[in-house]
């Protein structure tokens, strides 16, 4: 049986994995990598909740 994740859980996992790789490949020091990864994850979360609320108000 396939595992069923919710849309939110899927978005969270995607944001986490993409942030790890983006932080890893874009910066030169470990400190900058961690900070950029956290920044990317934060941006994903802001977009996730922002778009979620926009859709909530549009759909009523």
């Amino acid at each position: 049986m396939p595992v069923h994740f919710s849309h939110f859980e899927m978005s969270l996992v995607f944001a986490l994995l993409a942030s790890i790789i983006l932080g890893l490949v874009t910066k030169r020091t470990d400190r900058d990598r961690v900070r950029y990864g956290a920044y990317c994850f934060g941006c994903f979360m802001v977009a996730l909740f922002g778009i979620g609320w926009v859709m909530h108000f549009l759909h009523g």
Binding site: P2, V3, H4, F5, H7, V13, F14, L22, V25
Partner: protein, 139 residues
């Protein structure tokens, strides 16, 4: 009269063959970083790509196959196929084991197929990073 110091920098030899590094990074996600001695980063790449691929398999995501009746479908299928292929050994082992999940519809299967593609796309980013380390554009 003393000679003026040369301002032109000498060409820097690559760390290891960039092409071989990129090939290893493709076949084994994180392998390129391992090959270059960046073991910690290689392990993180391996685990991250494996996690994305594993989530895709857990959700019974179908793989993309090149082909299709119209141009748009063909472009989507070829793009997805490249994404699947970029996962390297994970894709080859999965296909060798006979994984042939049909597109069952529904959000679980749809997310699954996207995660299988995302795993490959993340590996492409890691391949580029390994290539740049091999050519000494990065540390």
């Amino acid at each position: 009269m003393p000679a003026a110091p040369s301002t032109a920098s000498a060409p820097v030899a690559p760390l290891k063959s960039p092409v071989v590094t990129a090939l290893i990074a493709w076949i084994i996600p994180g392998g390129g970083h391992f090959w270059l001695g960046r073991r910690g980063r290689g392990l993180i790449v391996f685990c991250t790509v494996l996690a994305a691929f594993g989530v895709g398999l857990l959700m019974y995501g179908p793989m993309f196959h090149p082909g299709g009746s119209d141009v748009l479908t063909r472009v989507i299928n070829i793009g997805g196929f490249i994404g699947n292929l970029a996962s390297g050994i994970f894709y080859f082992v999965t296909m060798a084991c006979g994984y042939a999940q049909p597109d069952a519809g529904g959000h679980a299967s749809d997310y699954g197929s996207k995660f299988l593609v995302v795993a490959g796309l993340l590996n492409i980013l890691a391949m580029v990073d390994a290539y740049e380390i091999a050519t000494r554009q990065k540390d």
